[in-house]
Amino acid sequence: MATMTTASRYDIQGDSPEAVYSREVIHAMSRGRWIQSLGFEPYFWQWQVIESRSKRKAILGARQGGKSTIVAGIPCHTAKYTPGSLSLIFAPTENQAIDDMGKVKVFAAHDKTFPSTLRNSELRMELDNGSVIQVVVASDVGARGKSHPRCIVIDEASRVEDIVYQSAIRPMLNSNPECEMILISTPFGKQGFFWRAMEAPESARIWTRYKVVAPFVPTDDGFDLVRINRVDHKYMTRKAKEERLTGGYYFSPRSGIYEEQLENLIEIGPELYRQEFCCQFVEPEDMVFTYQQIDQAFSSGRKVAGLADSAKMIDTVAEDGGSGIGEELDRRLQDAGL
């Protein structure tokens, strides 16, 4: 979360109704100004994200990079200034979901004009302006059934199952052009929808990509760190261009102390440091097959005209109806004429 000032910058006590009104208009228009008014000072990269008008944002951030401000701040702002809206925060585990709701409540508590809550639980907050903020554990069953959200934030998106995103979350965007979707995470291997959103060439047109990294890279031998000049804008622009980061390439303000980072490197090793702080999609150490081997298996596969006829003879739907991924795969098989 961004740093908090000792007193709220925009204290409303003693202001005239006109001043309050104009301030509220400014806050409704600018999420950054609203967050500032609560006493938090967003970092530069956070400003870029929260002020962006893009409806699809993917943020790859280093550990302790300030992701929570985004996760909690944007749904809070949406709930306050868009009455009757539904804001959803998805998290891979229940603990994470509860933590996220805790951060939302911190923001709400700092805003003296925040709508009062009608219902307030660990996972759901209903406001008197009709808005709802809900945190949801990202499971195939739990994530279903929400309709027409105005804001979707997927926290630790790299840890969320593809099937949840594809079959439960993604359909919520149908006929919902106003919905803003934000994926935010540290990397977790070259797999899943978050990795595709950040790295696949075709995804660059859909997602506004941001990358927030520590200003250090491990040396080749993995025993030391090399510092990158944090105000080298040319370097940042070049990296953003190279990696097709339409939102920009930034350095995490909280990862600037060399001694701290060196300690991290020594404790977690260069591979994990590259993943957690340099935000690289590296191979997990315990992975049995390498990315290269797996890619090779798929790229060398030929189109084989063969067994489609025999497959047609089989009723691929299970006798008792089937469910879950199998059912979907079967449907896909049938669609493909198999």
Partner: protein, 302 residues
Amino acid sequence: MQDFDQQAGQGRVLLFPRQGGQKAAEYRPVDVTSPAITEYVVVCDLAKDQDAAIIQIYHITPELVPGVKELNRPDRVIRYADLVYCRKTTKESYTHFVASLCTLCSDPKILGKYTLLTDVTGVGAAVVEMMQQQGLAPIPISFSSGSGWRPVYSVASGFGGGGSSRAFGSRLAQLDKIVVSKEEMTSAAIIIMQQQRLRISRSLPQILQDDIRKQLLKFTGKVNERTKKVAYENLTDQDHDDQVVCILMLAFWLVRYVPSMGEVNDHAVERDNAIPWGIGEEGVMERGRTVKAGWSDPHAFV
């Protein structure tokens, strides 16, 4: 040439190569009715708990790879495993599953040219019996902990002789199952992946390709800090490894089991005019070569 004791089993005949002074119990049976490497390998993983039931069909494609003259290495035939068909269902009854498997295996393209491997870990013999009743001859594979693998044969008297007699045709030997550790299968799979012999057909539906890719990515070997042994499993409980299990079985079959049964060194040479299936296919013919030279060379196969 080796001398053989011929044994007949249920649905297959096994030959026990006899060597001078060797006891009958030490003979290693060689299955001759079902060629060890067939044109197709059908691998199925039966549904257990929340897992899905999988049927994968691989086409074993031999291709000639030119040798290196400078190093005095001959041309070699490499057998690639092309995954050409995959089927995945959940909550399917075993009866329906076996019926589907039977329909697939009776396809003219693969009928009589396939080996059927099935994972029976935690399922029991009932499903295998169901398959046998439908005329299938599955080779059950049971996963175990630890390391290594062993075939389990049931031996009974038959052809008018005692179970332990060395007389010709005196024993019924049937391969009950192969008990394999996951470590053994994984090491075979690593070899086959490193040799780039597994090829996933692009004809498969995209969702199945994605499923296989995801499972391969999430298949991990975690070191138990206490025992220092590696446990091979999916990354989290939510991740399934049913597709990977099928790949492991295929890899074990190709890399470990078949070579140990002497298919390459004995069988191929015995059938002097044998030309491996697959010759005449695009990959081989394009090079304008014959596979025969490689076929008769026991060290020419991978």
